[in-house]
Amino acid sequence: MNCRKCLKLVEDYIDARIECATRVSIEAHLTSCDACRERFEQTGRLLLSLQELGNNSASVDVWPGVRERIAALDPSGRAARPRPRFRLISVPTLAVTVAALVITFLATEFGSRGPQPGLQRPDAEYLQYVQAYSQFQSNQSLDAGPMKVVVELSREKVWRGE
């Protein structure tokens, strides 16, 4: 047993985790080696002090406080805290949703008005107008039936979107 081996076994010696034969060797070495003996003594004192730190005791009985908190738990075992049955929508989310609805409404209501690009496919009214006008060209009479149709039609908005 030399100092290097002995110091490696300090912990196991103090924790009583070595064989009897090894313990005897260590103790024999300690009788003749001041440095190793001092290390063993320091470690022993340190551990004794650590053990004494474990003598703390709670100055109060914690059970009443624990009992009270347990009683406040809901049946599921969690802390009794009221929870809403539905999830509330946050204000920013609600604002965005409302704005989107408004924009959609406005686009639907007013977006279809106004002149559409491209040629209009002639509808029935417009065809009536053309027919009446061509007859007017030949009749030259405002009171003629077809012209009456033209006048009436001219007052209406034929073009979609106007």
């Binding site: 004494e52 730190l53 059970w63 347990i70 009683a71």
Partner: protein, 195 residues
């Protein structure tokens, strides 16, 4: 009910006898208090943390499957509670030798007889206060292993169950913690201030 085993009492609590849990609280509150006090360095904080520990234990009692001893399971909850407490607390408070949590927590020096050796009692107290302050400076892993093994007296196997790590890891951490403590307290050994 004081003579029943922990497992029997747990069974009764799970069957609805809430007051039976009080037996477990009374049985282990001092041990949990001691471990948490030495871990966080404050007896006042430790009382709240002990309460938190037992409430968490009650809520999670269904998950206790009996594979390990009840008190190792309880220690695990306690140490995790203490670790979370320190993690959330602002890291501005540094343990100093002026910290008086030993007195606050009701610690009494070993030598009470004033006729024995007053000077030795004072030296003993100084050393223990320095020791307590040094423990607070250890890393969480080393501190947990040291507090459970050297302060609370749990075996390496029991500490391994609490920390859910190999026994060899526990042994290594305890050894490193002791080396660091001896390094921090070197002047007390050199100057002859001995417990």
């Amino acid at each position: 009910m004081g003579g029943f085993t922990d497992e029997v009492i747990v069974e009764r609590v799970l069957n609805g006898e809430i007051d039976a849990f009080g037996v477990l609280v009374e049985r282990y509150q001092d041990r949990i208090y001691s471990a948490i006090t030495n871990y966080v360095g404050s007896g006042e904080d430790a009382v709240d943390l002990v309460q938190d520990t037992f409430v968490k234990a009650f809520v999670g009692l269904k998950s206790y499957q009996g594979a390990a001893a009840f008190y190792t399971w309880l220690y695990r909850i306690g140490m995790n509670t203490a670790i979370d407490f320190l993690r959330k607390r602002p890291a501005t408070r540094v343990a100093s030798l002026d910290d008086d949590y030993l007195r606050e927590s009701g610690y009494e020096p070993a030598a009470k007889d004033p006729l024995s050796n007053p000077e030795r009692s004072v030296q003993d107290r100084i050393f223990k206060e320095a020791l307590a302050a040094s423990i607070l400076k250890l890393s969480p892993k080393l501190k947990t292993a040291l507090v459970l093994h050297d302060v609370e007296g749990l075996s390496q196997e029991e500490v391994a169950q609490v920390l859910k790590c190999p026994v060899g890891t526990v042994k290594s951490r305890v050894s490193r913690a002791r080396i660091e403590l001896r390094s921090m307290l070197g002047k007390y050994f050199e100057s002859g201030v001995q417990p």
